[in-house]
Amino acid sequence: MIDPAQGIDKVADVLIKDGVIEGVVDPSSGRFFDGYDVIDASGMIVSPGFVDLHTHLRDPGQEWKETIISGTRAAAHGGFTTVCAMPNTDPVQDSAAVVEDVMRRAAADGMVRVLPIGAISVGQHGKQLAPMGELADAGVIGFSDDGNPVADANLMRQALAYSIEVGLPIINHAEDKSLVNGGVMSAGTVATRLGLAGVPAETETAMVARDLHLAELTKARLHIPHISTAGSIIALRAAKERGVNVTAEVTPHHLMLNDKWVYGLHGDVPDQVGSQSYDTNTKVNPPLRSHEDAEAVIAALDEGLIDIIATDHAPHALTDKICTYNEAAHGINVLETALSMVFDLVTSDRISLTRIIESLTSGPAAILGKDLGSLKKGFSADVAIIDPEAQWVVEPEQFASKSVNTPLNGVKLTGRVVQTIYQGETVFDLSTQSASTGAAVDLGARA
């Protein structure tokens, strides 16, 4: 059992009663828990349920891609018991009415907890501040125009300054659109060979630097979503050393993948461009960066400079991906593969298991300021049970998510969530799922 919030990493029994944690006790050698159902998790890792600060549920508005029901079910399958829903819905979550609708339906139909994020600006248009006080009262946990950066520096400044009023963080998708200039993947050798317009890393780095200085100016709380460049890490380090009130997240795909995946060969580089190239399932924003950028964010996560892992789960329909690379929608379906993707960093001794668990549980809970992400007595009984030895092959058609847009199709991963408990109830149990079959791509064996 691992609970970074309490500094626990030992063999133990977790007692759950009436949907809350009753306590953590030493192994029950000879002790009989009369009246308790017993889940035998020997050989497994028992972790607090994961908290995702960055989820696109597509509901309301794009229910053919995902719904609150399917998205929270996908979350449960991935070990997540709390997901924060990004506001780029239709209508946008820029008013109490929309936020309250999402919360009401999530409470009624969701398999796990949904915490909504409000828009920074009305309609996410970057012109006028959304009613941040009204949204805070309705229950949002932060503000973001995710997908649309707040391009206007003065509006960003005002949003940060106003956010102090409600005590919630501003989460700005950092991307200078004028530098994107039609780019669809990271600039570099891969983009040049494929003839795809490239996006330089500075597209992100420049706006991260701006936002950090504006957070310093306003003394407000800034949370940087899906940080992905080595340059952003340098700026983040300098800002934290100056005492800027900032936290940052990184996605599993920016940790595990890089721009070579666009060739469609799971990271291999082909001698020639081929029919499997232009893998539209690798198209995401921020784009998959260079190997060097991925190394930089891994190191920053390890040392705690990057605070947490968040999925940026972005489901899209087949028609959004069966097209040319230019036409394809941005986004990767991540919830159900997230733990297994980052678990590779544990098995390869890059990052400790405790740090990974922390970045999925108590780390994001601390940013939320909520009693979540720990197995402390009295906390909601949210638990993820991980089999560290489990090897499985990603088969998107088996996803609980409505969408299948992952570049990991057919890839073999190690380490898997096998059971998820939310408020004391099992919401996912792998042993009741249909067995996987099919061929696998073993990335490790190839290296």
Partner: protein, 356 residues
């Protein structure tokens, strides 16, 4: 030529045979008895030479008074252009018709095809009509590869985005070979918009593959960020050995072929260039610059030309210019490609390209 088993990414040995192509999430069992021409990067030099040899006899046929052969009688070729191009479309149409094929021209606007589903459906619709070859021009890089995954017709790339234009390269190789003989060892200088030019990219690959030394010159704003002026590219770039000249005079000096590329007004509008006038002064090919090239050097341009901008009228129509010949040769080369891909019993042997 692209491996015919398009559903299987086995060209590199690293992907399991049964791995489905990625974008669809569904296993496509396309077993294709034909091949495609999507780029020249997967053709061995010997295959390119075969195509050029074939074009020699095609040129003779195309020059006859009665230009008609039954070689592709009963075959249907569709040209599908999502981008305007009179020259290339007519060239393919003429090539197909001389060979006796039925050629249908489809003009589609990529902007009206807002989602790939429509491109997919368009291709599947044509596929259902028993098409032998699809000649595709598309503003998005990779579109012909996408199409080749969803049809069993031969797909011929007539230019995709900023990626490749293989038949232009074949006709350029053919033109140079006709004048200078063996391409190996020749210095080929390309001046122009390398960042956005599919002709530049395909020609760099094609001429290097045939043993030529390729040098480019252009404003730094029209090079990929990771390419440094004054350097020679390494193998990891996919364009290994390409020299990036410090200036146009250095590039043209001692060249056997000087190729000027079309520079577009929109590059000025997008801030890549201060003005076309300045481009013309610093990178335009004129008589003074051509004098730096070898005696008997060829001046080429893929057209259409902006005379007075990237090329002066004097040299564009001068003794060293082979621009019109390029157009004439284009028909012959495209006949060779169509014949090789579509004629009964004919096909270019698929290779892994690593026997180069």
């Amino acid at each position: 030529m692209t491996n015919p088993t398009t559903a299987v990414g086995n060209e590199n040995g690293g992907v399991a045979e049964s791995t489905p192509i990625a974008p669809s999430g569904e296993v496509e069992q396309v077993v294709v008895p034909r091949h495609h021409l999507l780029d020249l990067d997967d053709l061995a030099p010997a295959e390119i030479t075969d195509l050029l040899d074939s074009a020699v006899s095609m040129l003779e046929i195309a020059g006859r008074d009665i230009r008609k052969t039954p070689a592709l009688r009963g075959k249907t070729i569709i040209t599908m252009f999502f981008e305007n191009s009179t020259r290339t479309r007519v060239s393919f149409e003429q090539a197909g018709k001389i060979l006796g094929a039925d050629v249908i021209n489809v003009t589609a606007s990529a902007s009206s095809v807002s989602k790939g589903e429509s491109l997919l459906n368009t291709v599947k619709t044509l596929q259902a009509m028993h098409i032998d070859a699809l000649v595709v021009r598309h503003p998005h890089s990779g579109a012909p590869y996408f199409i080749s995954n969803h049809t069993d017709a031969s797909v011929i790339n007539a230019g995709d985005g900023t990626h490749a234009h293989p038949t232009q390269s074949l006709l350029d190789l053919f033109t140079v070979r006709n004048h200078l003989g063996d391409i190996a060892g020749k210095k080929i200088t390309i001046v122009g918009d390398v960042l956005y030019s599919r002709v530049a990219r395909s020609n760099i690959i094609a001429f290097q593959k045939m043993g030529a030394e390729v040098v480019v010159s252009c404003p730094n704003t029209l090079l990929p960020d990771e390419w440094q002026i004054g350097s020679t590219l390494g193998e990891e770039t996919g364009f290994g050995g390409l020299k990036l000249a410090r200036n146009v005079d250095e590039a043209v000096d001692g060249a056997d072929v000087v190729m000027a590329l079309r520079i577009q007004q929109e590059r000025q509008d997008a801030g890549h260039l201060p003005s076309l006038r300045e481009y013309s002064e610093r990178w335009g090919i004129n008589a003074t610059r051509m004098a730096l090239a070898n005696d008997g050097a060829l001046l080429m341009h893929p057209g259409p030309m902006n005379e007075g901008v990237e090329i002066s009228s004097e040299v564009a129509h001068g003794a060293q210019s082979v621009v019109e010949e390029q157009v004439r040769n284009g028909v012959a080369v495209r006949m060779a490609v169509l014949y090789t891909l579509c004629a009964p019993g004919k096909s270019i042997r698929a290779t892994n390209g690593d026997e180069v």
